[in-house]
C-alpha cells in the first residue's frame, strides 16, 4: 500500500486527495479513481459525476486550489462505482472570442483522454437531444488477457492491405454473421479474409464519433447519417456503436478480441485516424471537449479568433502545438501499446505539417516525433498527403524515411491507362516501379507508395467500369457532392439495368486487369473491401451518409462473381509467392535489371502518346534462391497486339499463368508454355502475367 493513496480531504460525502499530476484523464488507483486534466486558461475546474445514463449529475466536486500544479488539475476520488459512473468536467475562465478564450462554466465537457465514451452506445439509436451531457467519459478496465499477442512484426514490404468499414462489412443480411455490423461480426469473417489472403485490414475511423452529426433525411424521409465517421468525438475511445456489446460499455474488450483474433491469423490492423479536425466544428459548433477546455491551444485560430478550416470540416487541430503534439503522440502510443494496433493511416495528413498559423512547415515536430517514436517504431505510418486547404504533398510529405503515402498518382494513372487514355503508358511504368519518379528509393525505402485503384472515397472497382458519371442523388445534394474526376468508363453501358452480357464480360475483364496490375506493382497494394467480388455502390462515389445497402457489402455478389473472387485470390497468392514483386528478392539473375520496361518488341518501349501497350519484367530470385522472372503485359488498346517477350537465360522458357482475355479461365489451371519462336498475342484490353520456367 502506498502512503500517498489515502484520502486527505472531504467534499460532502466524498473522500478525496490531490491526484497524479503526470497522468492524463481517469485512472483507477487503489480504492479510488484519479482524474487529471490540463487547461492553460481555466481558473477553476469541477468534476461532474453522473450515474450511468442519468440526465442529472449526482455530484459536482470542485478541484481545490491546492489540487493544481501549473496548469494541471488532479484529484483522486475514493469509493466510486467504476462501472456505474459517467464523468465530465466544467471549466471556468475568460470569455474573449478574439483572444481565443471561450470558457463557459455551464458546459459539461468530455475528458479528451476518455477510454470509453457512452451516449451513442447503440448505432443509430436516436439520442435524447434534451440531455445536456451528450458524450460521457467512462472509466475503462484496461486489463486484457492478450495471451502473448503483440503487434505483428513482419516486414512492411509483405503488406497487402484491405480497406473496410466495420459496420458496412457485415451489416447486410447477406453477410451471414450473428453480430452484424460490429467488431464481433468482423471476427466471424476472419476465415474469409484469411482465405482471400490479405494480411492487413485498414478500418475506416473507429475512434468514437457521432453518427448523428449533421444527420438529415432524404427525399423519402430515410435518415442520412455520418456513416464514414471522419469527425472524431473522442480519440482514445473505440466507437461504441460498432460493438455488439456497446450497450454494456464493453467495446474495448470486443475490439481487443478482434485485434487478437486478427493477429492469430496473421492479419495486421491499421486504423484510419482523423487528427486534422474534431467534431466541435467552428464557432457555431457544439462544446464537446477541447473547445471548453483550452480552445486556443487545441485549434488553429485566425488573429480575430475564428477557426481556420484547412480540413473543410469547420476547424483545424493545432497539431504542432507542443500540448497537442503530445496529445496525438500519447494517443497513438496508447493504441499501439493497449490495443496492439499495427499502424495508422492519417486522414488529410498534410494538416499535421502546418504550424500554429496554418503555414506548412519544412520539419514539422509532430511528424518527426511520430517517425522516431520508440513505441511506434514497428507501426506503419501512412499519410493521406493532402488537405482541404490546397496543400498537396504526394511525393513530398515530410517523411524522415519512415512515412508511406496513399499514392493518388498511382490511382489516377492506372485508371487513365486502363480505360485507354493516350499518353499514359510511360506514367504507368513509373507507377508499377513503386513510383520511383516521386519516391526516391534511397530516401524513402521500398514501402513509401501505398498503391490503390479504389478506396472508400470514390467509386468501387465494379462501379469504376460501370458508370461514366457519379450518381449521388441519394446523398441529397442534387448530385453536386463527390468528385467529378473519376477517370471511370462504363464499358459502353451506364449502370446495370438491362445489362448486355458482353458488357458484363468486359467489365469483369477490366476489373481483373486492374487487380493484376495492382498486385504485381512495387509498393504496398491496397484493396477496397468488396472489390474482390464486384461490390457496387450503384454509381454513388461519395456514400459518406448512406447507412444502407448503397454502402453495405452485398455478399450475394460473392456467390455471383466467383470468377472475380478467384482471380483476386490467385493474384494475392501469386504476389506472395514471388519475393521480387515485394522487393524482397535477395539477388538478381546475372545480367538482368530487377525492373525493365518493354513494348511490342522486348527492350524497346514505344514512347509515342498513342501507345497503349506496356510490358514490364521483374527479375529476381524465389525464396528458395532460384532465378525468377515475371513478365506483366498490359494491353489497354481496343485491339489485340502481339508482343515478343524478353529473352530468358538459355535454360529457361516463359509460361503464361494469367490471361484476362480468357474470361472465367483467366487463371490457368497449369501454366502454358510460350513458344519463343512466336509472338504472344495479348487480347484487346487484356493483361497477361507470365513466369519463367526451368527447362528439363
Amino acid at each position: 500500500m502506498r502512503i500517498d493513496l489515502h484520502p486527505t480531504g472531504k467534499y460532502g460525502d466524498f473522500k478525496i486527495r490531490p491526484g497524479l499530476m503526470l497522468a492524463n484523464g481517469a485512472h483507477m488507483v487503489p480504492g479510488g479513481v484519479n482524474f487529471t486534466i490540463y487547461s492553460s486558461g481555466a481558473k477553476s475546474c469541477e468534476l461532474v459525476l453522473f450515474h450511468s445514463h442519468e440526465k442529472e449529475p449526482f455530484a459536482t466536486i470542485p478541484f481545490p486550489e491546492d489540487y493544481k500544479i501549473g496548469n494541471v488539475f488532479a484529484m483522486i476520488v475514493f469509493d466510486l462505482d467504476i462501472e456505474d459512473i459517467e464523468y465530465g468536467f466544467k471549466m471556468d475562465g475568460d470569455y474573449n472570442f478574439q483572444r481565443g478564450d471561450v470558457f463557459d462554466k455551464t458546459k459539461i465537457l468530455l475528458d479528451p483522454y476518455a477510454k470509453i465514451i457512452s451516449g451513442r452506445d447503440v448505432w443509430g439509436e436516436e439520442p435524447d437531444w434534451e440531455n445536456k451531457f451528450q458524450y460521457r467519459s467512462r472509466i475503462s478496465l484496461e486489463d486484457f488477457d492478450w495471451e502473448g499477442d503483440t503487434p505483428l512484426k513482419s516486414s512492411h514490404k509483405e503488406l497487402i492491405i484491405y480497406e473496410a468499414h466495420v459496420r458496412g462489412f457485415t451489416k447486410d443480411e447477406s453477410s451471414g454473421v450473428k453480430f452484424k455490423g460490429t467488431y464481433a461480426g468482423l471476427v466471424e469473417k476472419i476465415p474469409y479474409l484469411k482465405e482471400l489472403g490479405i494480411n492487413a485490414i485498414e478500418l475506416l475511423p473507429i475512434f468514437e464519433f457521432d453518427e448523428f452529426e449533421g444527420a438529415r433525411k432524404d427525399a423519402e424521409g430515410k435518415p442520412l447519417l455520418n456513416y464514414w465517421g471522419y469527425s472524431t468525438v473522442g480519440f482514445f475511445a473505440p466507437k461504441a456503436g460498432y460493438a455488439a456489446s456497446g450497450r454494456f460499455s464493453m467495446q474495448n474488450d470486443e475490439l481487443k478480441n478482434l485485434v487478437k483474433e486478427l493477429h492469430k491469423n496473421g492479419i495486421r490492423i491499421i486504423l484510419d485516424v482523423v487528427f486534422n479536425h474534431t467534431a466541435e466544428g467552428n464557432e457555431y459548433g457544439p462544446y464537446i471537449s477541447f473547445k471548453g477546455i483550452d480552445n486556443k491551444t487545441y485549434y488553429i485560430l485566425t488573429p480575430d479568433g475564428y477557426y481556420y478550416n484547412f480540413s473543410g470540416c469547420g476547424n483545424t487541430l493545432n497539431c504542432n502545438n507542443p500540448i497537442v503534439r503530445n496529445f496525438i503522440l500519447t494517443c497513438l502510443r496508447y493504441w499501439v501499446a493497449t490495443y496492439h494496433v499495427d499502424g495508422f493511416r492519417f486522414d488529410l495528413a498534410a494538416i499535421l505539417g502546418r504550424d500554429a498559423f496554418g503555414a506548412p512547415m519544412a520539419n514539422p515536430p509532430l511528424l518527426e516525433s511520430l517517425a522516431y517514436d520508440p513505441v511506434l517504431s514497428d507501426s506503419i505510418l501512412i499519410a493521406e498527403a493532402w488537405d482541404a486547404g490546397g496543400l498537396y504533398q504526394v511525393g513530398s510529405f515530410p517523411n524522415y524515411g519512415r512515412w508511406a503515402e496513399w499514392n493518388g498518382k498511382y490511382r489516377d494513372d492506372l485508371r487513365k491507362f486502363l480505360k485507354g487514355e493516350s499518353g499514359k503508358a510511360e506514367c504507368l511504368a513509373y507507377r508499377i516501379s513503386g513510383s520511383e519518379d516521386i519516391y526516391n528509393r534511397f530516401w524513402r525505402g521500398d514501402c513509401a507508395s501505398v498503391n490503390f485503384i479504389t478506396c472508400h472515397d470514390g467509386f468501387t472497382l465494379y462501379d469504376l467500369f460501370a458508370y461514366n458519371d457519379k450518381h449521388n442523388e441519394a446523398n441529397g445534394w442534387n448530385n453536386n457532392d463527390g468528385g467529378n474526376d473519376n477517370d471511370s468508363w462504363n464499358c459502353g453501358w451506364e449502370g446495370d439495368i438491362n445489362l448486355p452480357a458482353d458488357i458484363k464480360y468486359l467489365r469483369h475483364k477490366m476489373i481483373k486487369n486492374a487487380a493484376a496490375v495492382l498486385l504485381t506493382s512495387w509498393g504496398i497494394p491496397m484493396i477496397l473491401a468488396g472489390d474482390e467480388f464486384g461490390n457496387s455502390q450503384f454509381g454513388n462515389n461519395n456514400p459518406y451518409c448512406q447507412d444502407n445497402k448503397i454502402s453495405w457489402l452485398d455478399w450475394n455478389d460473392f456467390e455471383k462473381n466467383q470468377d472475380l473472387y478467384k482471380f483476386f485470390k490467385k493474384m494475392i497468392s501469386f504476389r506472395k509467392a514471388h519475393p521480387v514483386l515485394m522487393r524482397m528478392s535477395k539477388d538478381i539473375p546475372y545480367g538482368y535489371p530487377m525492373f525493365s520496361v518493354h513494348g511490342a518488341n522486348a527492350w524497346q518501349f514505344d514512347h509515342s502518346p498513342e501507345n497503349r501497350l506496356l510490358g514490364v519484367m521483374f527479375a529476381g530470385k524465389t525464396a528458395e534462391g532460384e532465378d525468377d522472372f515475371i513478365y506483366l503485359g498490359i494491353n489497354a488498346h481496343w485491339e489485340s497486339h502481339g508482343v515478343w517477350l524478353p529473352q530468358l537465360p538459355p535454360n529457361m522458357t516463359w509460361q503464361v499463368e494469367i490471361n484476362t482475355d480468357l474470361g472465367d479461365n483467366a487463371v490457368y489451371d497449369s501454366p502454358a508454355e510460350i513458344n519463343p519462336e512466336n509472338q504472344f498475342i495479348i487480347g484487346a484490353r487484356s493483361v497477361i502475367v507470365c513466369t519463367s520456367k526451368k527447362q528439363r
Binding site: 462505482d81 462501472e83 456505474d84 478496465l141 486489463d143 454494456f248 464493453m250 474488450d253 470486443e254 478480441n257
Partner: protein, 111 residues
C-alpha cells in the same frame, strides 16, 4: 449475488444467482475459489442475469485459478443474453461452457 453449493459428491455443482457486476464480482470469485477443491466443478449460470466487465474478469479468473490445480470448471446453463456477451467479447474462448448440467457432466466424464 449468491454463490451456493447445489451438489457435492464426485463432482461439485455451484450456482451463481444475481448480477455479476463490480459490486459482486470480487465476492463471487473469492467465494468460488474457497469452494473449489480437487473435484471437477460445474457452475450453473441459469440464475445469473447479468455479467459486467468486472464479471467477465471474475469468470476468467476462476477458470485460470482452477487450471493449475488440475480442476476442470464448466459453466453451464448460461442464459442467452450472458452467452452473447461472452461471444461478443471473446471471453468464451477462455471458458468451457455447456448448455445443460447433463452436458457438462458428460463433458467431465469424457463422453
Amino acid at each position: 449475488m449468491k454463490v451456493t453449493v447445489e451438489r457435492d459428491d464426485t463432482i461439485k455443482i455451484l450456482a451463481f444467482e444475481g448480477q455479476l457486476d463490480v459490486a459482486s464480482s470480487d465476492f463471487a470469485r473469492e467465494e468460488t475459489l474457497k469452494l473449489l477443491d480437487d473435484k471437477p466443478t460445474i457452475i450453473s449460470m441459469a440464475k445469473c442475469t447479468y455479467v459486467s466487465s468486472s464479471g467477465l474478469r471474475a469468470l476468467l479468473m476462476i477458470a485460470k485459478a482452477a487450471k493449475p490445480k488440475g480442476v476442470k470448471v464448466i459453466y453451464a446453463e448460461t442464459i442467452p443474453e450472458v452467452m452473447d456477451v461472452l461471444q461478443m467479447t471473446g471471453f468464451i474462448k477462455f471458458l468451457t461452457c455447456a448448455k445443460t448440467i447433463e452436458e457438462a457432466e458428460k463433458e467431465l466424464a469424457g463422453k
